[in-house]
Symmetry: C2
Subunit: 492 residues, 2 copies
């Protein structure tokens, strides 16, 4: 395997796949479309999980766990949802293997051990959860029910891509039940905002908050709120969605509550999720031709210290200086690694941590020992500076904050530079094909027009932004009247 990455400008998709492997994030597995998340990649997911979990709990949610399998009859109870996912379901039909009489020592599925009812491996858990909620909700006092689950789900998709689209992926799915429509709408929008805050403050990834058009909604939802990010190649990424499910699942599973007034009412529902796809978004928002670039708040290693030495004695002298630094970093909650392996030269270590996106590198050699200095290098800009050993921990702590902010600002500038307002279909096609990014255009509101635009340009409506302004105009395709612009883009 070559040490160098394919350049983004050469082949973005190849760059992405190579980076994931070279940065030790993940790899494909022996199971079609399923990935192995390697320790370094998983550590990023753990950091994401910790922060999201904290935010969910702060907003009153509790975690629970529901079965991996959904009996087919439950799965099909909410018809739109079932139809939406039916084509990509892994199905368990048998529960035993036995020795194959034709192939010595080999196993085959035992035909005798057929399940009475097939089990769908959850592609999402609304069905099994709402079937359970039926037993949990009787009275208005049982509401709101605010539950989240961290789980694996399976969607048997034909075209997969590490992190962005895999047959099995890890996610969280919130499922809430409310007494009123208004309360459920507030919840769905609140969780969109939680996701947006997480994306911007932790991933340093600016997002557009908006609502999906009808044809892009979650199957079974009355309204889907989304956060849409922009990748460096000009394609959009749906990074998280929060659905207002109306009473669709309550009706499908007959979940009613007795109101304060003693009336039987169907409850109102939301569901919302983000997945390991976020890691794909993180990579494509910040990384460069040298490898991964990570925002400090999610980096498994925030600071790496590399000694430059000859012989044990020099290493010992450097270690003496480094140990109190490590203690001081840890004291501040900054994760630090001292890489004193003697099997790699400093240059090779530098390259490794560049590839892995460690935000700050500190190097210490013989001359630094004499001068009481260290060399501090930023991963994002490659800037280096010499600092005094005495103040280095405070300075690096401040630098990490600066990097976090700078990554966000850089991504924001790029994103804002790639929202193009167009008024004709020629401009639309030109922007989509030649510039990339979001195109802000008038649309007549019909599914037919949306489909036609997709057919002609591969661009889809990413969202109707939350902060959209009323503005009279004409649909870029049909010229029919339109009251506001929506955002189109090619998307992952």
């Amino acid at each position: 395997m070559s040490k160098h990455l394919t350049k983004r400008a050469e082949d973005y998709s190849k760059w992405y796949n190579e980076l994931i492997v070279k940065a030790d994030l993940a790899e494909t597995s022996a199971v079609r479309g399923c990935m192995v998340i390697k320790p370094y990649g998983f550590a990023i997911w753990e950091n994401m999980q910790a922060e999201l979990d904290r935010m969910f709990k702060e907003t009153g949610h509790q975690n629970a766990y529901f079965p991996l399998f959904v009996p087919k009859s439950l799965f099909e109870a909410e018809e739109k949802n079932a139809e939406g996912f039916a084509k990509e379901c892994a199905v368990v039909t048998h529960y035993r293997l036995q020795t194959d009489p034709d192939r010595e020592g080999k196993l085959r599925v035992d035909p005798e051990a057929k399940l009475e009812e097939e089990l769908v491996v959850r592609p999402t858990s609304e069905a099994i959860i709402w079937n359970t909620y039926k037993g949990w909700i009787q009275s208005h006092r049982d509401l709101p029910l605010l539950i989240n689950q961290w789980a694996n789900v399976v969607r048997w998709e034909m075209r997969t891509r590490l992190f962005l689209r895999t047959a099995e992926f890890l996610w969280q799915e919130g499922h809430t039940a409310h007494a009123t429509k208004a309360e459920a709408l507030v919840e769905a929008k609140q969780m969109q905002e939680v996701y947006a805050t997480f994306a911007e403050n932790f991933m340093a990834m600016p997002v557009v908050r908006g609502a999906k058009s009808e044809s892009e909604r979650f199957a079974g939802a009355d309204e889907t709120y989304t956060i849409e990010a922009l990748m460096q190649d000009g394609k959009a990424l749906q990074a998280g969605t929060s659905h207002f499910l109306g009473q669709n699942f309550a009706k499908a599973f007959d979940v009613k509550y007795t109101s304060r007034e003693g009336k039987q009412e169907y409850v109102w529902a939301t569901s919302w999720g983000v997945s390991t796809r976020l890691i794909g978004g993180l990579i494509m928002t910040h990384s460069d031709d040298a490898g991964l670039v990570l925002p400090p708040k999610l980096a498994p290693i925030q600071v790496v210290i590399v000694p430059i030495y000859k012989g044990e004695e020099q290493l010992d002298a450097i270690s003496d200086k480094v140990q109190p630094m490590i203690a001081a970093f840890k004291e501040k909650g900054i994760s630090v690694k001292f890489d004193h392996r003697d099997t790699l030269r400093p240059g090779a270590k530098f390259a490794e941590y560049e590839m892995k996106g460690v935000p700050v590198r500190i190097a210490l050699g013989k001359r630094d020992l004499e001068n009481g200095t260290v060399e501090v290098a930023r991963r994002d800009t490659f800037e280096k500076q010499t600092m005094n050993q005495s103040g280095v921990v405070e300075a690096v702590a401040a630098l990490l904050d600066e990097i976090q902010e700078s990554l966000y600002n850089k991504a924001l500038t790029y994103r804002n530079d790639h929202i193009t307002e167009v008024n004709t279909f020629e401009e639309f096609k030109d922007a989509i094909e030649n510039k990339g990014g979001f195109v802000s255009a008038h649309w007549d509101g019909s599914i037919e027009t949306e489909d036609k635009i997709k057919e002609l340009t591969k661009a889809t409506i990413r969202c109707i932004p939350n902060d959209v302004k009323e503005e009279n105009g004409n649909c870029v395709l049909t010229g029919k009247p339109s009251g506001r612009r929506v955002l189109f883009a090619k998307a992952y």
Copy 2:
């Protein structure tokens, strides 16, 4: 549902099942043998996970994630392991549903969408992980490889029981690779000790550390180390196991490394796991006829504060006293709940928290306001005392430690009182049938004798204790010579 639990002495198994439901820990689901873990039960699991994860990381392990599915051909590569699990595998054979032409709007498995190779839902992940390790391990520098995974696994068992044995369960599975046999043995024993420490220090559940007899070993292991706990009904519970896998998986998946000397060698392996079964063990170690009893270190709510009031004004006055207490508890990292619901009387709340095993209850009424006191009640002993409000936080913090210790000591006394040394088969049967607990007996070391004893008494060899003494004696069944005693018990 009756408010009261069946008594343990009446029907232990019924008591266990009722307690789980009434304490809001878990329930059965629409999927045969699979459970729903409710928020309160899941919060216990989260506390267990946090502590175990910290211990795994302290001992140098990293988390990763491997696919849910194992292609059948990989699954069968290590023959003993495959045989051991073949009879309880859920198997995915198809990947699509379609509308059933015979039943309008209903779905059926699409016969066209048959997988080329069936996928086994992982009952354990050695096969998929060792197939992956083949690509990760080339040199002695890649070793040791110390990886853990938190995951769901599926074993299609016919007789299931909430937490103790469910078709799907949550667990962690460590999978490590080492250059030498000695190092792998040290690892396997280290993880047994990590589990034992967790069980004793956090679950307050004493365990016997030992090795399994050959017939009780994990399928594919050369040695299985176990921690065995004793439940209140005299049955043993295997609470965690750590396996020395020898080179069995390395050979099955051809995983070799180049040694320092430049030779190609097979690596040595371990695997180790604990699961949501631990929650079953926790329940059966401490709980009583009033409900759950939780050790403070794992209790989702450590302290509950119940106001006893009439009218808003009294509640406000109580809240004024309680708020600084809550802040002080949180400051100490003690989780506290102030239950000021106006829909339940204090007595009903007391009963609820007794059922849920909250270790300490603080009650505050009108008279307490006048006297500057609170009533503090222990869940484990039901002891109550009046304390001054001023010192209550420190006193309760100390009380929580005392409860933790007291629960452990009580369980230890019970366990020690239920290890019976026997020298004849009459004594053996009497102890197993009438007293319960562990029976320490000489055994001739043969599988035949072990099987015969199981057939006659339902007791199995739980383990050969780590601290077993050499002692000449005669097998209780056959009279053949034996060099040490082993522990038998009926087990879950």
